[in-house]
Amino acid sequence: MSAEIEELLKRYQNYPNVVGIIVLDPFAIPIKTTMDYTLTVHYAALISTLTFKAAKMVTNLDSSNELVNLRMRTLNHEVIVVPSESYIIIVIQKPGT
């Protein structure tokens, strides 16, 4: 699993607009990050609670449905979260060309 994560990180880090990548374990503990630690922990805590809430909401609306991807656009960045069973990936990018 670790090799898989390394490969993903390398691939995404090469995109010019990517500000940071955080990989969390299913308990929202950062296992890999390209940003500084305090910021990572801050993002991990807040974004993971938002994602869990969104995922719960989706299954609440329709029990056969599941959250695949969450994309949040703000004034300065775009945060993309992909939850899965073994890890949660958060990518922060500057939107635009």
Partner: protein, 97 residues
């Protein structure tokens, strides 16, 4: 504001793949909807919470930043949430594969 809302609804509804559109005012009351009423209320209740949570997350991370758009991709649909000053719009669509 009502003419603005009508025009937006018409524009989005014309797009293929759009399942439904809900326009909600700041008090959480759906002012316009193309979905069935009970489903609308269900979506509004959950989206209201999620919107508030997303706003808090963004403010907490960076007080100068603001949450402008949220896109939830699920197995079956895609939900897009756009908050504005007086209202927020939620669009439910079948994403093209």
């Amino acid at each position: 504001m009502s003419a603005e809302v009508e025009e937006l609804l018409k524009r989005f509804q014309a797009l293929k793949n759009v399942i439904g559109i809900v326009v909600v005012d700041n008090d959480g009351i759906p002012i316009k909807t193309t979905l069935e009423y009970n489903l609308t209320l269900h979506y509004v209740a959950l989206m209201q919470t999620l919107r508030e949570k997303a706003r808090q997350v963004v403010q907490d991370l960076d007080a100068t930043n603001e949450f402008t758009f949220l896109r939830l991709r699920t197995l079956l649909h895609e939900v897009m949430l756009c908050p504005q000053d007086d209202y927020f719009i939620m669009v439910l669509q079948n994403p093209c594969d």
